[in-house]
């Protein structure tokens, strides 16, 4: 079968090209023709169709995401901002951290194990491509209802996939979320986060400068992974079905990825890399166009040189293949031998497939004939940008009016506490987290069930200064809040992640986010999206933490039923002396228990309304960013002074759940009395900007002074000790009872 060449495209200007089958609109196709001054070849069409897809071009979201830049707070810590593979922040002492969260939602529905596994693989390569050593992963998960059949298929597979891939890479899993809601049935969310460390003077970028430099593809061989669409291009006639059987599922090889990690680090150390890019969605198309566009501007590639796992692959398919565990590097001719020798040491196949030029053109050949000749920037950067229409959903107003005020409130608060503690979303996540290695690399200071993961910065990195610092990370997101008010919902996600970082004693520094929504072509979904982005950008500005990167996942819907809008926010913080970190929960008896922050009657979108009444309506708890910031200041300052023995933030389920979890952490009970007039509100309201801390009695006054200075409400609730949680005059439950309620739920469903 002959291949469509540039020459042939010139000779057959009217040949029908299957752009629609590749998801391209007529006007987009017309633009390609205008750019090239002729019809594209099949290979060129392959490149433009993937590069201009929603996934790669952010065409629906771009106009909104710009706010993250325009509203960004000034931050000295930001070394690399949005637009690169991942953002990089300065964490002091010559060290930098890079982190990002990314979705792999749909593949995880189709094949949960492989989908989730390759999600971890992809985000880890993003971090590697910044020049960093990946040091930990996290996973933020959403599933359908716990009692829905498909959840029993999807969850175990997803968890096993993350477990297998992450464990095999030797990356500790230091946190995440597991949330159940029927809105995610058919559209589970698998968002994976990776964080890496590097010397701040050794950041690598995805760029191909220097004509004459070589382009090397290394890692796994290229197979027919994830090229469902490309098969129409590779078939003899576009209607030919024979080739349309390519797998839509990519299978990961974590062992190859582990080799790639060690190999890349050795390449960086040997200083033989000019530019580097991971291969993710859109594989070779994306890597070559982006590297070329950001470099000198031109590149030649001989596609015959791409090592193939499946020798029958056609060039169009090679260009679109999403085979995992591949990287592309730009290397000076003098360093080629050294580069290849390091790859050989690690058993990583590596092949020179092209060269950097100054022609401004990306030129690819196949069997000696030119099949691609394009200005790379037009594919990488000049994709279509849509101002999609949006409007408030029709029922939004009614939804907000349907407040939880009319819901019957319980009188037996003990039963309510145990019921909430055993509920799908608040029960112990141990069934999931025990499948993740949280210890490997020996730097994990806090992991589950702590509010945030915390790592000591003590990697073996040549030339790096010794430091006492640590980094903390948390991810949060609440789709129910966002459904009620996407602007506030995104801010609440940020608030909670920010607070989770602060309770460990770390100072929040920077933000990543993964925006999971339905179809952008639905104006009501688009409104949710626009509101969420606006909310997050505004809140980041107020809190002084810039967005460094992230990911958008649209089309999470079945038919017209979209998921709850689910912005997931990850916050990274730094603690100067990691030994001063605050443990999670009550570590010992005889400590004062203190509640920080004010409580209001707020049950819209609450876990109680969800569990007790299956109700979603009203407005989410009020966002109070100034209060969050002041609370964080109290927490980090108190930690620095060594005042705190333990902490836990208040979020879903309110004070009642926080107290119970704090008791469960080390099996230490507590006796407390409630500050307000309404025990139900005190225990289960989800007001924001609150945290629970415990401390030695002699430090109590210092803490109250600190709180007074920052205007943070502070209530001495009682004291730790005993085998029970006693809320005086309200309820009493032994720690064993709490544990039995908390720990039985997930094993009861998943075995």
């Amino acid at each position: 079968m002959s291949v469509d060449t540039v020459k042939r495209a010139g000779q057959t200007p009217d040949e029908r090209m299957p752009f629609a089958e590749l998801g391209m609109k007529q006007d987009e196709y017309d633009r390609v023709v205008a750019i090239l001054g002729r019809r594209p070849t099949g290979s060129e069409l392959a490149i433009y169709s993937v590069m201009w897809s929603e996934h790669c071009s952010y065409k629906s979201s771009k106009v909104h995401l710009r706010q993250f830049g325009t509203k960004a707070p000034k931050s000295e810590a930001l070394l690399v901002g949005m637009g690169e593979n991942a953002g990089v922040v300065d964490i002091g002492d010559g060290w930098a951290a890079t982190f990002k969260i990314e979705s792999h939602n749909h593949p995880s529905y189709v094949e949960p194990h492989q989908g989730a596994a390759t999600g971890v693989g992809g985000i880890v390569r993003d971090i590697m491509s910044m020049g960093a050593r990946p040091v930990a992963v996290m996973d933020s998960l959403r599933f359908g209802g716990l009692d829905q059949g498909d959840t029993r298929r999807v969850l175990p597979g997803v968890v096993e996939g993350i477990s297998h891939y992450g464990n095999c890479l030797g990356l500790p899993n230091i946190g995440g979320e597991v949330v159940f809601d029927p809105c995610y049935i058919g559209n589970p969310l698998v968002n994976a986060l990776c964080v890496g460390l590097l010397r701040k003077d050794q950041i690598k970028l995805a760029t191909a400068p220097g004509p004459g430099n070589k382009v090397i593809l290394f890692g796994a061989r290229t197979g027919a992974d994830g090229i469902g669409g490309a098969s129409v291009l590779a078939s003899a006639t576009f209607e030919d079905e024979s080739q349309a059987k390519r797998p839509a599922v990519q299978v990961g090889d974590p062992f190859m990825e582990k080799l790639l990690i060690e190999c890349c680090l050795e390449l960086y150390q040997a200083d033989v890399v000019v530019g580097i890019q991971d291969l993710g969605a859109a594989g070779v198309s994306c890597a070559t166009t982006e590297l070329a566009a950001k470099g000198t501007g031109g590149m030649t590639v001989d596609l015959n040189l791409v090592p193939l796992r499946d020798p029958t692959l056609r060039p169009e398919e090679i260009l679109m293949s999403e085979s995992q565990e591949r990287m592309m590097a730009v290397v000076t001719p003098g360093d080629i031998d050294a580069f290849l020798a390091i790859c050989e040491k690690w058993d990583v196949p590596a092949t020179v497939i092209g060269e950097v030029t100054d022609t401004g053109r990306l030129v690819m050949t196949w069997d000696g004939e030119v099949i691609v000749d394009i200005p790379p920037g037009t594919a990488a950067d000049d994709g279509p940008v849509y101002e999609r229409p949006f409007h408030e959903p029709l029922g939004q107003h009614d939804l907000n009016l349907d407040t939880p005020d009319s819901l019957e409130r319980p009188s037996d608060l003990r039963t309510t506490l145990l019921q909430l503690l055993a509920s799908a979303n608040l029960s112990s996540r141990e069934w999931v987290t025990s499948q993740y290695d949280r210890y490997v690399r020996g730097n994990t200071v806090l992991a589950q069930p702590a509010d945030a993961g915390l790592l000591r910065v003590s990697e073996v990195m040549p030339g790096a200064e010794e430091t006492t610092r640590g980094i903390a990370l948390a991810t949060d997101g609440n789709g129910r809040y966002a459904k009620l008010d996407p602007y506030a919902g995104a801010q609440l996600a940020l608030s909670e992640a920010y607070r989770n970082v602060a309770v460990t004693g770390a100072t929040p520094l920077a933000v990543t986010n993964c925006l999971n929504f339905g179809s952008p072509e639905d104006p009501e979904v688009m409104w949710q999206f626009a509101e969420a982005v606006r909310g997050l950008a505004d809140a980041c500005k107020t809190l002084g933490v810039p967005v460094t990167g992230g990911n958008v996942s649209f089309y999470n819907q079945t038919g017209t039923a979209a998921i709850n809008p689910t912005p997931v926010v990850g916050v990274l913080g730094v603690i100067d002396d990691v030994a001063k970190r605050v443990r999670s929960g009550f570590p010992a008896a005889g400590l004062r228990v203190v509640l920080l922050g004010a409580t209001y009657d707020e049950f819209g979108g609450s876990e109680w309304a969800h569990v007790a009444h299956d109700h979603l309506g009203g407005l989410p708890p009020r966002v109070n960013l100034e209060a969050e910031r002041d609370l964080a200041t109290v927490l980090t300052e108190a930690a620095k002074q060594g005042l705190l023995e333990g902490s836990h933030d208040l979020s879903d389920g309110g004070l009642g759940i926080a107290l119970a979890e704090a008791c469960l952490a080390q099996g230490v009970g507590a006796t407390v009395s409630l500050p307000g007039g309404d025990a139900f509100v005190d225990l289960f309201s989800e007001s924001t900007a609150r945290a629970l801390v415990c401390l030695k009695p002699e430090h109590f006054e210092t803490l109250t002074d600190l709180c007074a200075r920052l205007d943070v409400p502070c209530y001495g609730l009682g004291e730790t000790g005993g085998d029970s949680l006693v809320v005086e005059g309200v309820l009493e439950a032994t720690v064993t009872e709490l544990r039995m309620s908390h720990e039985a739920t997930l094993p009861g469903v998943f075995g």
Binding site: V110, A224, D225, K245, V249, V251, M256
Partner: protein, 81 residues
Amino acid sequence: MARVIVDVMLKPEILDPQGQAIARALPRLGFSGVSDVRQGKRFEVEVDGPADDAAIAEVRKMAETLLANTVIEDFVVRVEG
């Protein structure tokens, strides 16, 4: 009592990292002349009755729903012997 065998292999186009790792290791162990290795699963299903058409159809259904992940795997059902 009869034994029905279900062989499950990854579809040919799906990456088989296990098989590849073995294939790469063989030359180092002094085995030459092997061009490829693929690793799959083998199930031995003991059925109560005879391995007649009905039993085999039943095992086939089992393979489809449980033993194989048909998104990425092919399977073959056969009677031992």
